[in-house]
Assembly symmetry: C2
Homo-oligomer: 242 residues x 2
């Protein structure tokens, strides 16, 4: 093991944090402050300057883009005979908020997260906290180690052990039943409300809003009521981080 | 100049094409077939297998993702004190269809494009042909030369000479006047139509549709009529590739 790695893991002031990250990620990060930032939710972030908190949101922006490119290339190469519509759909199954929340939990991001503890028992507020932090982590790794390293990390350490891409190909996520089950489990009332049609509209579009405990959580619009409900439920699932 | 480069530019069977690309891109590509594919619109693409044409659409999917990551990082580093909302907006000003169409024309993609010539005089059909090919080109360069090279290429050869990021920061694109001007110049009739409100809807949303020569080109929905028109015009500009 090179001297610098040894130093970071066993001698430096931040050695404990470095070892935790080493266990989680499988490599020794260089710039620890990037990782600390990735796990800092805006609810506890200090003001950096007017209108900007020193939270993980900027890293999330970067990580989202890098993750999209990495997963996009993986799918492009894995499916040489599928069109771009299929590739787009598959990518969104992998990088959607719900799935990223699960991935983040699997690799144990929760233990490192820094956020206002009042959010813990409010799933609506907590929402996509974990998935956002996962994206921010990807941004941190990218800045710390570069694109090629980040790609290797995502492919070998995240996708290979945690994501069954072939199974995802078969699933069509049923967001409506997912939402209803979640509400039953958490004792919340869920309501799908069909909004009246536009009067004299040329197309017959259905608009459905979904309310969880009277709080509007999503809207969907489509040519069938069923599809409008589906979209509304999908939005609600994303909002609730399911 | 290394022997392989010389061979590609002056001896190989495809030397003419290699020299054209060299002039346009500033480097000698390795795998020319990737670039040919990037410039092949689906209107002239051969069937690869059922449901899939051998066109540039898959490369466009890949290039879109890679370009998003590269531009995202550039903005992340250029604006250390701006939040992710600003970064997202700036990126979309750079990589939106209209702007990519312009960029593609600037670097001369039109001369290399392979598409059904019946589309030439139909701007609605032509739409974002050039911008799509630009993204596909980014995908081709990425597969041919890797991420670091592609990033250098985009930053030095595209963004630096062709995009004034500071000026873009100031502009708020006025899509409505852009659309109207374009229609006047091309002798087309443009019509913004306010659709009737939803009866009994809780919120007072305005829906505006825009028609160019009686063809619906975009819809917008917002709480003010003006903003709904703006969104509708933006969609129409994207569709028309303005």
């Amino acid at each position: 093991m090179p001297a610098l790695k040894l130093y970071r893991l066993y001698i430096s002031r931040d050695r404990k944090y470095a070892r935790v990250l080493h266990n989680m990620l499988g490599f020794v990060p260089r710039n620890l402050s990037l990782y600390k930032l990735a796990f800092r939710h805006k609810s506890v972030a200090p003001q950096l300057k007017e209108g900007l908190k020193n939270s993980n949101e900027r890293l999330e922006f970067l990580g989202d883009a890098v993750l999209g490119a990495i997963v996009g290339e993986m799918l492009f190469k894995k499916y040489p005979y599928r069109d771009e519509g299929f590739l787009t759909e598959m990518r969104s199954k992998i990088v959607n908020r719900n799935h990223l929340n699960q991935l983040a939990r699997k690799i144990g991001i929760g233990d490192l997260m820094d956020y206002d503890s009042r959010m813990i028992h409010n799933p609506i507020k907590q929402g996509s906290l974990m998935g956002d932090a996962f994206e921010a982590l990807v941004g941190a790794i990218y800045l710390d180690q570069g694109y090629v390293f980040t790609k290797e990390f995502i492919l070998k350490r995240i996708l290979k052990p945690h994501v069954d891409v072939d199974a995802l190909e078969q699933t069509e996520t049923n967001f409506k039943s997912k939402l209803i089950e979640w509400c039953q489990r958490h004792g919340k009332e869920v309501l799908f409300e069909l909004m009246p049609n536009e009067e004299g509209a040329r197309t017959k579009l259905f608009t459905v809003k979904v309310f969880v405990d009277n709080e509007e959580c999503g809207t969907g619009q489509d040519f069938t009521k069923k599809n409008a409900e589906k979209t509304a439920a999908e939005h609600a699932c994303a909002l609730l981080g399911l």
